[in-house]
Subunit: 348 residues, 2 copies
DNA sequence: ATGAAAGCGCTAACAG
DNA sequence: CTGTTAGCGCTTTCAT
């Protein structure tokens, strides 16, 4: 493979000159320039970006660590980040952590070793901030925490409006006349999950509704736990007339559970999901959901990170919260007056 | 940031020795080793992988270019590749081409400039093989063509059994009694699409069924074209009693079209999709599909590429074809005897 | 068993 | 305007 030197020799100039024409970093006379360009073409020369990085200490590369690209929420986010990165000539390392601290750290180290200019992290749930991230020096390569964060960690943050979104969802259900509303939560170590629960609680208390503990079911943001929690909820002596499921994967589990239990939605029970998926408008019934702007989340994350990298942004960590949007569909329906009576009678 | 030199100085040894203890590339006396390890810890030293690459000419990085991570078929594939790459200590660059040659080439160049050890490509549809790929020297960095390929391009190939899968789907429909089976094809420049059409044709001719041109509708492997093609099919004077949709995104469009047209599936029409998605078992009706092993496709691609990179595999290009599996669900149903009569009468 | 030294391919002063 | 030169951080003969 041809090198700068080869080109220089062929064109009869110095390496500095070749470098200058390639990077347009100094004026080079048209004649010399032409000769250099010739040589480059002739040798099918491609600069070695790594050698350049070694010198300039800029790799034009950022690393992104996500839980799992197979979780339908993340593809759009990754895409958002990648689009803005490409725009600015950056390239993306992708790593799936599966929400495991060990894998996360492994990728973190690999990406740092390969000298990324910045990192976009969607961290794993954990009660305490990971050691390696706490050790990360604020003046080193910038980290952007996307979608999730952890107090005690230094870095810019871009997330969706978890509290507001959950509040929208539950308020919607209340407006439809529901009074017994169950929630399937996420892992309590995740601020997201806690915030969604908070939105739920706020909506209830604003309307003077009681917070019943049996209606709050812990989930793990995966399909299996969504299934299990739904089953629990249905088994209650006084089951809820509506469920707010706090993420899409659990909604998948919830739908399966409903199907398996022969409970009809929305006839027997209403449903609202946090996170909207493309196919929610194709199921029967279609699923009411709180839409988080996944693509924008990813794009904004990359934008902020890039600003930080290039120094266009400095000072204390930024925290951006992107608004959510309720998309009402068929799965949430006004509670029929008789329905309430029926239930009471049934359990009288 | 600490360098090898710093460590060497601190430990009072040469850089060569430090390198040796890090890479375990030569025996180092326990005492010296200990001193070095100390220094490493003390300085929180992390080797610069790029500098190493410059010397060793191995980056332990591979680039993957896919059409769009947002297309539900690809996440599992990417995940498959990444898992095996991680296993072997490789790191992944990801690029979305949107099926555009220009973006594809741009990523190709960026990845090569950053000296990837190999490339996994899911190429864009095109009637002629791209110039830059045809120029790619077989003895350079290995390329693996996954899911799609193009004759005239040199490299290993890992794909699903397109012909077989389509054949399964259509045979299934024929067994159910369908005689007028429509197909929504993909872009004819894509071998995949052509092969799926071929599977369709073979299944028909094997059963002595005629190939009616009006039943073959061109799609583009995206939702919009799936929608449009379905509408066309329904408008036919003699519409099909079943449709074979040759990819998942178009199935999405097809379902919407059916919904909008008030045509009920499977009562009015049967449906089989090429590519299975998680939620196909949650719709109403659930969707019969040909399952391509997306994860295995990605994993196998990475495995073969890694073998090629490390020289464990040499010689002429390998071509692996992974089997597909038909997953019968509710959307495909035996054609009622009267139905056939009705249709005939209607158009008599 | 360890060290000295020569690069890998590129950029950036600094001269001229 | 163009060339010389000294590294960036690491690996790898080749001596010792």
């Amino acid at each position: 493979m041809a090198t700068l030197r080869d080109i220089a020799r062929r064109a009869g100039v110095s390496t500095a000159t070749v470098s200058n024409v390639i990077n347009e970093t100094a004026y080079v006379s048209p004649r010399v320039k032409a000769r250099v360009l010739m040589a480059i073409r002739e040798f099918d020369y491609h600069p070695n970006a790594l050698a350049r990085t070694l010198k300039t200490r800029k790799s034009k590369t950022v690393g992104m660590i996500i839980p799992d690209i197979t979780n339908p929420f993340f593809p759009a986010m990754v895409r958002g980040s990648e689009d803005v990165l490409l725009q600015e000539g950056y390239t993306l390392f992708l790593g799936n952590s599966d929400g495991e601290r060990e894998k996360e750290e492994r990728y973190y180290r690999a990406f740092r070793a390969k000298r990324v200019d910045g990192l976009i992290l969607i961290i794993s749930p954990s009660s305490t901030a990971p050691e390696y991230l706490r050790h990360h020096k604020p003046d080193g390569v910038p980290i952007l925490y996307a979608d999730r964060f952890h107090r005690g960690l230094h870095g810019d943050v871009v997330i969706g409006d978890n509290i507001g979104g959950a509040h929208q969802a539950v308020s919607h259900l209340i407006e439809l006349g529901h009074r017994r509303i169950g929630i399937i939560t996420g892992p309590p170590e995740l601020p997201n999950a806690r915030m969604r629960l908070e939105g739920y609680n706020r909506a209830l208390s604003e309307c003077g509704l009681p917070q019943e503990e049996s209606l709050v079911r812990p989930g793990k943001f995966d399909e299996a736990s969504g299934y299990a929690a739904t089953v629990e909820l249905l088994k209650l002596v006084k089951p809820p007339t509506a469920i707010f499921v706090s993420n899409a994967l659990m909604t998948l589990g919830c739908l399966r559970a409903l199907k398996d239990s022969g409970v009809e939605c929305p006839k027997d029970i209403s449903l609202v999901s946090f996170d909207d998926l493309e196919w929610f408008s194709l199921t029967n019934p279609t699923i009411t959901a709180v839409d988080q702007p996944a693509y924008e989340l990813g794009a904004t994350a990359a934008e902020v990170l890039l600003k930080r990298i290039t120094g266009r942004l400095s000072g204390p960590p930024l925290r951006k919260i992107l608004p959510t949007r309720l998309v009402p569909r068929e799965s949430s329906r006004a509670i029929p007056a008789e329905k309430g009576r029926d239930l009471k009678v049934a359990h009288a």
